[in-house]
Subunit: 428 residues, 2 copies
């Protein structure tokens, strides 16, 4: 018999918390006062130190906590769904109102504001997809007004390999990259700091269990291979990208840094927030059989509201509120995460626990929903005006970009992802 | 005072060995009878077990050997040039004729034929370049006969991120990948085993010391960041590639396996085999300043002869000699390895010890020099005939591809790289 799920926590800041109420329980890696990084769970304004509370866990849940040793969640991700669900169920008991764990609060809980967050896992490979169909159309229109989507788009979950070594947690500064660019009207490139620095709003996906090289993950098994989710800012140097990307794709225009929010929001926490896909209209082709799973497609993609905010140095000096650049939703993903996993491994490519996927930029079709400045300003042609009196075509030094996400549904507590922040600093 | 370099080894199979004479001394990771992988040096038909011989080393050379503990050379690569050179000098003494180490032969030497080779390092990121200008032209001609090279080619060392998780040592079987392809004349893709499986002949480059994110490696410092070299087969599914690669580059068409030869041939061993670049003709643009280093460009690229052989199952049954598909040379690299390192990091991208670069396919301009079947058969239009009576447009199940390399120069002992082998097995 299933117990009714508790809804209130003895950690009082969790009750009604915008991101981390009792219903979320994301995992991450933190340190405090220069200590070794260790695993924790976000609850309200606090972090539960999993190892300090180790003796509260047994069975599968204890196995899960033990796999988080060493300041990296890879071994925990590799365990798959069973131990992760057992951990969640035990955490719900321990953190619910009335739990005896409250007596040990001083020992097991830290204020998040006192902690530093780290990457949750060692990332072996990072893949950036392109499943945001509105972004693909918006960008395609800039180059091919009559035919914005390429013929493969509605058959292939397009993706490409990204750089793993420069993925960093929220808060890491974004050094403006230098590189080659081709000035308008010229035939020879020049070298210097990027002049068209942009953000891209993406959902990040943490891979759980891996597969052996040569094996494929069937779409029906994909859930076992998805550990959780984060926000991802795929910082992009548009001028470097335009000059370098033919014929093999983006390279240095993307590899200077990629920022992620540090908390891993689990598939279990997001389960109530799936919704059948409106992005695949009548008349679109059926997915090929290896991408077809009626249960997955009936459950649909996630309904997660996504937001991008800009704060310039002048705005901070004038105490002006952040400027909202984007309000979008993960419903603009043309492919589900299960489809991305099945596609990535269909050729026998080995996925490993702790691999990271980016969804690609998640724009909506309307102004106000565009997930990059490239789309918002039409490649710099239509600058935006800020309350500070400044204008922006692309990002300037001192600009901070903040990504947020929020899941809401009638009858369920809202949950969020925390933030993914980055401030641009001058080129060296 | 420099001692004259010894030329003959007490390991008699080394003297005149096609790949591993005393002058080469490449490093690798091996195991024997299921033992834990450990570091070794190839010498003739044998492998010197570095740890069994540890007490023969002191100072910088000992530091180098100690950094090879654990069956991965990453920490050794990170040490940079000094300890690597000290190790080489001591190995030359220990393995030269007359060395007392011969008395310990049974303890420190294994027959290579009894050993299994492993990847030499944990590869964090893999980047595939496109610096083989003749390949770029040959492939470009198939699509754009009048304008085969894109405008960025002679300014930008073009590269893209590859998949690190599926890099394997020579001898690993090559499972034919499955995927989406667009049949000629159709508008809807089908799914099935790749029908246009190809090899690509490349030089692999192992990265030595890394750089911090945000820093760039100046071209004059690049040598400190290059640990050594191998052969690399960038197996390619041409039909999957043609359908998937727009707009973000190759993905599943390359990520099913990449094979490397297991021995790391050092920059020191290759030093005599550099030669000023013939590939950059008069009238080509000067490299931008960050890619310009007169010492590097005067030394030039490597003069390494490269060979690809094919053996089909029928040829092996009939005891027929391997069929030579390609005889090419690293002189067809338009950019030096130092230029590749400087370019990769100019945007602040962090390189790490054990990262791997591929050069891109190293074709020559003439028939017989093409480094892929795509070029040899003009995309399947001109099948090749084999002594077995078979024909090939692309690779069939049972076909084995063997890459070899050889450096020769008047007055110097020739050295080689060993082999990079892979046999195609049927799709699952």
């Amino acid at each position: 018999m299933t117990q009714p799920m508790p809804t209130r926590s003895w950690v009082t800041s969790a009750n009604g918390h915008r991101d981390f109420p009792l219903q979320n329980l994301p995992l991450g890696v933190f340190s405090i006062n220069g200590s070794a990084p260790r695993s924790g769970v976000a609850i309200g304004d606090a972090i539960l130190d999993l190892h300090a509370a180790l003796d509260e866990f047994d069975g599968e849940a204890r196995r899960a906590v033990e796999a988080t040793v060493g300041g990296q969640l890879n071994a925990f991700f590799e365990l798959g769904r069973g131990p992760r669900v057992a951990l969640r169920e035990r955490l719900l008991e321990l953190l619910a109102e009335g739990s005896k764990l409250q007596r040990r609060e001083a020992q097991v809980l830290h204020l998040a504001a006192d902690c530093q967050m780290h990457l949750p896992a060692k990332i072996s490979d990072y893949t950036d997809f392109y499943v945001g169909i509105e972004h693909a159309q918006n960008v395609g229109k800039l180059f091919r007004p009559d035919n914005p989507l390429l013929p493969n788009y509605k058959y292939v979950p397009i993706g490409y390999h990204g750089r793993a070594s420069t993925i960093r947690p929220s808060g890491t500064e974004v050094r403006r990259p230098k590189g080659q660019t081709l000035p308008a009207g010229q035939t020879e490139p020049t070298f210097g700091p990027c002049a068209r620095l942009d953000y891209e709003l993406e959902l990040g996906i943490w891979i759980g269990q891996g597969n052996a090289m040569g094996d494929s993950i069937a779409i029906g098994d994909a859930a076992e291979h998805i550990a959780g989710f984060c926000l991802l800012n795929d910082w992009s140097a548009r001028d470097i990208q335009a000059w370098e990307y033919q014929p093999l794709g983006p390279f240095l225009s993307k590899s200077f840094i990629t920022s992620v929010s540090p908390w891993v929001v689990t598939a279990e926490a997001l389960e109530p927030f799936r919704k059948a896909q409106p992005a695949r209209p009548q008349g679109d082709p059926q997915p090929l059989p290896y991408l077809l799973d009626t249960r997955d497609q009936a459950a649909g993609g996630f309904d997660i509201e996504l937001e991008v905010l800009l704060s310039t140095a002048a705005m901070r000096e004038q105490n002006l509120a952040e400027h909202r650049l984007t309000l979008s939703n993960t419903q603009h993903m043309y492919w589900t995460v299960a489809q991305m996993v099945a596609h990535h491994s269909v050729n026998g490519c080995q996925l490993q626990a702790g691999d990271l996927f980016g969804s690609g930029t998640l724009s909506g079709p309307q102004p106000g929903q565009f997930g990059s400045l490239l789309e918002i300003t039409e490649g710099g042609k239509k600058p935006i005006e800020l309350a500070s009196g400044e204008v922006r075509k692309f990002l300037e030094d001192g600009d901070e970009i903040i990504l947020r996400a929020r899941c809401s549904r009638e009858g369920f507590a809202s949950i969020g992802f925390g933030e993914c922040r980055g401030t641009v600093v001058a080129a060296r």
